[in-house]
């Protein structure tokens, strides 16, 4: 039992790694599925469109799904039209774009995984490149091959050209090789880029390593507590309402956070060196809804508009 608990704890600690590995497995699995079941190169002049659509449409879908599933995007967008000052506070207009950039970068992981796996496989790229009509690319691919190559390259994937089977095979293999090279280059550059950005972000971080670990633990625990408290309060409020409805009584007062408090707690968090608040909720609870000297006009404008509602 202890050993099992230990193993479970180990896996729970490695949640991010497991999450990404699962995503990678899913991408590989669906790429294999598509490639075997659905993808059949038409071997006509439409090759390029077909290959490119199969390469990029799933990447696009994965990018948009990444946006949908990211909590930060909804925290950023909810209520922004009604109160634009919330996301474009005076003096911090770039914050919106910074957060949007972060969300985009984290959503780009799955599409890049798809593209690398698809390019490593080679079928999609081979089909797309064999349909090219650009003379420069044709020159590159058909160098040293008989002149039928220029006209019949699009039939290479199906093996139906009038050239010798060995030359057909050679062309197929060279296209697949190009695809795999591009795939590996993509994997290398994406990993290097993500390493650089992580290093840069950690370098510019205002908190130390241990404090950062504490911060992550705090954020997780606060999230759990918030959900439990939501459930508890929702339960009590709905019990009260239903009791009053069925028994035709007047309701007792039920204390809930004010509208302004909800608005203040939903802001995106930014860390101030002097105050060391680990979340927006922490800051709202510590400062109340009054201004603290360090805070700029952003909170004032927010509270002001919230009270006008």
């Amino acid at each position: 039992m202890d050993a099992f608990q230990g193993i479970l704890k180990f896996f729970l600690n490695q949640k991010t790694v497991i999450g990404y590995s699962f995503m990678a497995l899913l991408t590989v699995g669906s790429e294999r599925l598509f490639s075997v079941v659905a993808f059949k190169c038409p071997c006509s002049t439409e090759n390029m469109t077909y290959g490119l659509v199969f390469l990029f449409a799933p990447a696009w879908v994965l990018l948009i799904l990444g946006f949908f599933l990211n909590n930060r995007s909804w925290r950023l967008f909810t209520g922004c039209c009604v109160n634009p000052r919330k996301i474009f506070p005076r003096g911090h207009s770039c914050r919106f774009f910074y957060v949007l950039g972060q969300i985009t970068l984290s959503s780009l992981v799955a599409p890049v995984m798809w593209l690398s796996v698809a390019l490593l496989n080679g079928t999609f790229y081979e089909c797309a490149m064999s349909g090219t009509r650009s003379s420069g690319l044709l020159e590159l691919i058909c160098k040293g091959k008989p002149k039928e190559c220029w006209e019949e390259l699009h039939k290479v994937s199906c093996g139906k050209t009038s050239m010798l089977p060995t030359i057909n095979e050679e062309l197929k293999l060279s296209l697949q090789a190009q695809s795999q090279i591009i795939g590996w280059c993509l994997i290398c550059s994406a990993s290097f880029f993500s390493l650089l950005t992580t290093c840069y972000a950690r370098c510019r971080s205002k908190v130390s390593y241990l404090q950062l670990s504490f911060w992550k633990t705090y954020a997780q625990k606060e999230k759990e507590q918030l959900e439990n408290t939501f459930l508890d309060y929702a339960n009590k409020l709905s019990e009260r309402n239903l009791k009053c409805f069925f028994e035709n009584k007047r309701p007792d007062p039920f204390p809930m956070p004010t509208f302004a408090a909800w608005e203040a707690a939903s802001e995106l968090h930014s860390f101030h060196q002097s105050q060391q608040h680990y979340s927006t909720l922490h800051r709202v609870v510590d400062n109340g809804l009054e201004l603290s000297p360090e805070d700029d006009e952003t909170t004032m404008v927010l509270v002001g508009t919230a009270h006008n509602v």
Binding site: A38, K40, C41, P42, C43, S44, E46, T49, Y50, V53, F54, A57, P58, W60, V61, I64, L65, F67, F68, L69, W74, R75, F77, T78, G79, C80, C81, V82, L226, E227, F230, L231, Y233, A234, N235, L237, S238, E239, R240, N241, L242, K243, C244, F245, F246, E247, N248, P251, F259, W262, E263, A265, S266, V309
Partner: protein, 315 residues
């Protein structure tokens, strides 16, 4: 027990995503079964196009209507509409906004059907091979037999091999159309969700709390309604068999039920979490909560009407 609780929490947090995922999987599975088992292209010039189009579009229409039927909000909008005053029925801008939202939600399954059918290719191949307009485009550089043999292509019965090769072209066109449909639908969905979230008068955390509140209210309403109904039924049956008079039971009146069943409207001055909440907190006992100044229908708050005693939460 804790692991089970963790799974349940996951289900509660993402139940709408899980619901939509389930609908997509079921539709995709159904389409594969249809296309493999039921669909047999007639391979005739006159019947290919209608047959293919019927298989592509009629199940989509059926799924669209089913989407309407299975949404609790539709019934909330329609029930009792004939007897009540027209104003409370939600005609005009309010009613059309609600209708538009219902249609958008009901359109998910049909669009999944059409997208999976196009990715599969069988229906489009059959329909396109029977279309005279497409035959002209495909048979452009080929001899006269091409146009005559094109309808036979889905059954692999065309004699000329280059005409038979057109089957691959048709399948490719179908799959490209399918992917373009998926890409377009998903970006439109993202834009609409962003815009409706943007127009939300409440903040992110309050919206989260609101969803949890509604689920709890639904569960408790169901258990309290069951309890109340059991008591009332017991009393009535007992009195029937004993021939006695039933004691006074405090059941909410017809008017009260009507009040809490109307479509939810948000009021900036008194933000309540449901029509029940609004009703219980009304100022005077005889006051109607049906229509007050400042009531608006907000797109992002559509989930408030989707709750009902008999349906699964949120779906």
């Amino acid at each position: 027990m804790e692991k089970f609780r963790a799974v349940l929490d996951l289900h509660l947090k993402h139940h709408s995503a899980l619901g939509y995922g389930l609908v997509t999987l079921l539709t995709a599975g159904g389409e594969r079964i249809f296309s493999a088992v039921v669909f047999q292209c007639p391979c005739s010039a006159a019947w290919n196009l209608p047959y293919g189009l019927v298989f592509l579009l009629v199940p989509a229409l059926a799924l669209f209507l089913l989407g309407y039927v299975l949404s609790a909000r539709t019934w909330r909008l329609i029930t009792g509409c004939g007897c009540r005053a027209r104003a409370s029925c939600g005609c005009g801008l309010r009613g059309s906004l609600v209708c538009a939202q219902l249609s958008a939600a009901a359109a998910l399954a049909p669009l999944t059907w059409v997208a999976v059918a196009l990715l599969g290719g069988a229906f489009y191949e059959c329909a396109a091979s029977g279309s005279a307009v497409l035959a002209q485009r495909l048979c452009l550089d080929r001899d006269h037999s091409c146009a005559a043999e094109l309808p036979l292509v889905p059954c692999h019965e065309a004699k000329a091999s280059d005409v038979q090769d057109l089957l691959k072209d048709l399948k490719a066109q179908s799959q490209v159309l399918g992917w373009i449909l998926i890409a377009a639908v998903i970006i439109i969905l993202l834009i609409f969700t962003c815009v409706s979230r943007c127009l939300s008068p409440v903040s992110f955390l309050q919206l989260k709390f609101w969803k949890i509140y509604l689920e709890q209210e639904q569960q408790i309403l169901k258990s309290k309604a069951t309890e109340h109904a059991t008591e009332l039924a017991k009393e009535n049956v007992k009195c029937f068999f004993e021939g006695s008079h039933p004691k006074e039971c405090n059941t909410p009146s017809v008017k009260e039920w009507q009040q809490i069943s109307s479509l939810y409207t948000f009021n900036q001055k008194d933000p309540y979490y449901s029509m029940l909440h609004k009703y219980v907190n009304r100022k005077e006992k005889t006051h109607s909560i049906r229509s007050t100044e400042g009531d608006t229908v907000i797109p992002v708050l559509g989930f408030v009407d989707s709750s009902s005693i008999n349906s699964t939460p949120g779906l």
